[in-house]
Symmetry: C2
Subunit: 145 residues, 2 copies
DNA sequence: ATACTTAAAGACCTTTTTATCCTTTAACGA
DNA sequence: TCGTTAAAGGATAAAAAGGTCTTTAAGTAT
């Protein structure tokens, strides 16, 4: 809708991991991908990126898997978005004009700014952990995509 | 940033046409594409779609070209966006969840709604003509992409 | 009429995104 | 230390988006 598929998967995976890992509990890709309804190998790729960027932790070998530590659960969702999709959504002109700026704004410039800052704010003030927490009450909203 | 390239080109083309056509004045694709800084043939394809959907008017043959009539200049920008990108930006879950709804909302559901309605509103209350008008004052912001 | 200009249409190519597979690497347990 | 297990990583494939080119046909001026 607004993010790439990869980014949606990433957010869902992070939320799922926040709710279901930690304190020595790890989760494998098969579990993650089936729970968030994303293709297994694609999910693996995405988790790889997030792991490399230290937004997710991983453990190889027997009983290995992925998990989030306390710090990672406290990260804002916007970190995930930027790690996967970059920050193009948050900067640049809505009409794709290079020349557009405060000094020479395109006709929609200021209105776009408002929408965008709303988006930035919501993604910044929502942490992975807080989102995971808000679904604790049995509502397994992540099941089936 | 938020729209596809095709959609950005479409909006720019519409604004340009609104400012530079009408009352028997037509503009050819070469002029349009160079003024809005978009690939010529790709622009032609996009204009074709807009024409078929009656958001833009065209005239074949000698001295032919594209133009907007009064009604078309009064159309809200959202019509262009929907014609090219569809309405996926305006509906559907931000996390791509099919199950997400008012009853079983995803953790970001309500916050996304606010952002989205802001976007919808801005695109609905801005008409092609009004945007074209706001750049009348010499600022050829469309030049060069 | 007809010749010329220009949009319409559609075939085609390239790049990016999405998705899959397979090999390598590392961790751990026995 | 050896074997199992799971992530890391590279290589490939399919689909969608972005972009180019050629042909067709409509309209207009002459």
């Amino acid at each position: 809708m607004m993010f790439s598929k990869a980014c949606e998967y990433a957010i869902r995976a992070a939320i799922f991991l926040s709710a279901n890992s930690g304190d020595g509990v790890l989760v494998g890709i098969s579990d993650i991908s089936s729970e968030i309804g994303a293709p297994k190998h694609f999910t693996a790729k995405i988790l790889q990126v997030l792991t490399r960027k230290r937004l997710v932790s991983s453990q190889k070998g027997v009983n290995g898997g992925f998990y989030l530590d306390a710090v990672q659960k406290g990260r804002p969702v916007i970190d995930i978005v930027i790690a996967i999709d970059g920050d193009n959504i948050f900067k640049g002109c809505g009409l794709g004009l290079r020349e557009c700026s405060e000094k020479e704004p395109c006709p929609l410039h200021h209105k776009f700014l408002a929408v965008r800052s709303g988006l930035t704010q919501l993604l910044t003030e929502s942490t992975i952990g807080s989102l995971a927490h808000s679904l604790e009450s049995g509502s397994s909203f992540l099941k089936k995509s």
